[in-house]
Symmetry: C2
Subunit: 354 residues, 2 copies
Amino acid sequence: GVNEMKIYRIAVIPGDGIGKEVVPAAIEVLDKIAQLDGSFQFEWTTFPWGCDYYLETGKMMPDNGIELLRGYDQIFLGAVGMPDLVPDHISLWGLLIKIRREMKQSINVRPAKLLQGLPSPLRNPHNFDFVVVRENSEGEYSESGGRMHSGQDEIAIQNAIFTRKGTERAMRYAFEMAKTRRQHVTSATKSNGLTYSMPFWDDVFAEVAKDYKTIGHTTNHIDALAAFLVMKPENFDVIVASNLFGDILTDLGGAIMGSIGIAPAANLNIERDYPSMFEPVHGSAPDIAGKGIANPLGQIWTGKMMLDFLGYQELGTKVLNAMEATLAQGIKTGDLGGTATMREVTDAILEQLS
Amino acid sequence: GVNEMKIYRIAVIPGDGIGKEVVPAAIEVLDKIAQLDGSFQFEWTTFPWGCDYYLETGKMMPDNGIELLRGYDQIFLGAVGMPDLVPDHISLWGLLIKIRREMKQSINVRPAKLLQGLPSPLRNPHNFDFVVVRENSEGEYSESGGRMHSGQDEIAIQNAIFTRKGTERAMRYAFEMAKTRRQHVTSATKSNGLTYSMPFWDDVFAEVAKDYKTIGHTTNHIDALAAFLVMKPENFDVIVASNLFGDILTDLGGAIMGSIGIAPAANLNIERDYPSMFEPVHGSAPDIAGKGIANPLGQIWTGKMMLDFLGYQELGTKVLNAMEATLAQGIKTGDLGGTATMREVTDAILEQLS
Ligand SMILES: CC(C)[C@H](C(=O)O)[C@@H](O)C(=O)O
Ligand SMILES: CC(C)[C@H](C(=O)O)[C@@H](O)C(=O)O
């Protein structure tokens, strides 16, 4: 019936460093939104996995971690990594990338948008608003490769592997998204230098584009595209990129917004057969962890993306509006040139929502 | 004797598009410098290779092209590529990349510097001045890989291959350069995502760093590093990067300087057993070719790098100063927000030099 309360069971992995601070802050915001709406609520279950867990147990998550997570609707993650204590290849491949792969979160979506009240490092930023659709399951991040010989003779090989299925899936997702936005997709390539993977990427893009006659499409080499994001970010709508290129472009997106601390991300299982994972672009920032000064906006905006994915786009927009209103009041953390604590920023957003 | 005139025999490849315009402009500047100095002169031999040549002959250069070029002291190149007429993989791999490889130009050096009079797109640019040392012979730009199956089953593989020799050579060059600059080297890595090539890269970097105890060193992931170049480019001195990462970072360097049209580059054979090639970062820009409005500064600055490599650092500095003085007078082309023609910019620089 219409008065039934919908429950979303969310697995929460605060992870390391500031993840442990910003995740609870974002949960407060999401709970507030649910309460205001009244038709649904979240049920949060926290898993204390990450580098501390590794230092105690020798594992980033228990052996049945993936199985446990599969029982939830979505995953809300903070940040993973304590490079001084645990090598990145252990912490990331044992938790973050493992979840992305095992849950078939093959699409990573990362928006970048000039926010009111947030000073971009660009001199004269026009009103940019683009989304990077990053292939999230293969490409340059393969586990294929090796090292051979030692000393002066050593060589290392890394194989980038692109499948038609993975490539096409990301591209179709990008074109579908463009339909709901400004009707344009830009493909990040480097077919002039990488002469097998990227010509393939270009061929698939050209073919997929044929199925979307009303959507404009452009191809740019990754080097030029990186430069364009600095020089004219307002020219882009949806950008589709390989795993590595998407990784680079989205950090750039964070930079031109004014801080990596603000950039959100969603690792999507678009078939919805396993949970998706919502995780901001920023890392665990061990240097400022535990001080109450971390910027919660990246995690809160990531929460907005979870609302969108659950079908509550209007509520998602409310969250983003509350963030912008808070920024416009000058209530912001140190990374954005402000003096507010994480608590103060969070409270201001909660108040905007009321 | 001291009054002997030194002659440098330079092979000139204007190439395509605006290359045909900016190369003659830069040659005027270099001739002027030589004339003012009086101890040496250039002997220029022009080779009309490029896409037009390809459309006539089916080749980007004649079969004995490499052999011919080996007879010269250095190579001065404009730009290669006319993607609407000749596919990039033909034009670039048949000329530009072919020369880089056959001449063992294993190091690509690309400076980025805030120039007086040049408006950076950054709001508040501090006085940044960094150099990217790009590995130029291997890594991601291997000719190794392939495509298999077709249609929905197609896969593409691109192998990145790093040797100890190539990796170490670039890193040692970077550390040696840092000795003459601000004593710091940053390594661009992505060992958290690319788990064979980049951990190898990191290992070699750590080892090489041990031989340079007085030089500071830092490692950044490429995604964060790209963002840092936008947020705090003044933090960098020498950056050492793989072929692909160097490619991306140097276009970003051009972007934050204010235009890709200004960024210079040198493809160096540091053993000096074959000619090096001096070639700006920008491409052939077919859309503005033939109009006399191309920005000659990238090519002229590239000429300065050739002067440096020939041992005339003081003269090189004179060229850069003349460029800055011209910019400070507001004499600049459209890409830099000015209204001057290429001719006017070139004349102003020539006048500054007198
Ligand atoms: C044209 C292309 C192959 C080339 C490269 O990637 O090396 C260019 O971008 C450059 O940086 O010189
Ligand atoms: C931590 C790292 C493996 C990860 C990636 O490269 O995917 C991160 O940079 C990101 O963008 O989520």
